[in-house]
Amino acid sequence: MSELPDKNEKLFREENNYVEKFPKIEKGGLNYIKIERNYLTMSALIPIYIIIVQCINLGYIFTAPPINPSDPRPPANPINVFTPIIILFVISFFALFNFGYLLSWKGKVKMYEGKAPGKQKTLTSIFYDIIKNMKTIRVIFIIVNIISVYYFIWFFLWALSIMDPFHPPPPLHVNILNGLSQGGLLIYLIIEWRHFNQWNRKLKQLKLFEKQIFHEICKPSEN
């Protein structure tokens, strides 16, 4: 047999293979988007629990009785007031950012799938949206890490009453809630670190790929 029909047959097979393959690639892409959506939901839900615990902390700090019940109630220690407020503020901002992005993202995926009116979205633009968002989240995450370390230290000192010599240590239920909150936060931070580590690897590969595409499309003389 001559070489040409063989080549044509090969091309024909590859072409038909691709007709079946593209929907699979697209499905893979959409599945990945769903995984990212689950990650964002988790990122938004865990902080809600932490926010509730900080509100309970604040409630207790403002109503804590003095060590000696016959004494007038001294004012709350400013560090003990500001710490839960700072944690509340940073975690709320992080959660709100994730929720806000989740909502806009959901809309974009629906537009891509043709289920929502609006400008036609492409899978490429959704992928790059995720990358852009992750870059911002990464920066906020560094702040969340610093605040979390501060929270661990502060709570340890508060629970031992070192931070507030005028009030008794927080009651058992407040300690348990904070303990759970810190445990959850620790697991959450470990998951996030793993997540961002994978992201760094991905971004590195993507940069190499983008560079290759650029050099293939734009010859050096045209740059």
Partner: protein, 101 residues
């Protein structure tokens, strides 16, 4: 030295063009294996002159190919994706979907 933002902006456009052809390829209502030039320009959301510049470069790089198709008394240009172009798009999707995240 080319800034990495430039690599990125090029890549967004190139992958969108490849995706546009592949989505047309997938569309069962589309009788052809390619996409009409004006539809591809619309999908890529580019100015005609910018899109044409990219199409020319991508054709030269072997990512896409074009041919003319009679349309009444006129002709229209149809773009198709090559094996190389498909591979590049597939790599792009794989980097995004397979490396965790």
């Amino acid at each position: 030295m080319v800034p990495s933002t430039q690599y990125r902006s090029y890549n967004i456009i190139i992958q969108t063009i490849l995706e546009g052809i592949l989505r047309a390829f997938k569309d069962k209502r589309n009788p052809r294996k390619g996409i009409i030039k004006s539809h591809l320009i619309e999908y890529s959301a580019l100015k005609t002159s910018t899109a044409e510049k990219y199409f020319k470069r991508m054709e030269r790089a072997g990512y896409i190919s074009s041919h003319e198709e009679p349309w009444g008394e006129r002709v229209r240009i149809i773009y198709e994706i090559t094996l190389k172009g498909r591979e590049r798009y597939e790599w792009f999707v794989k980097i995004n979907t397979e490396l965790g995240g």
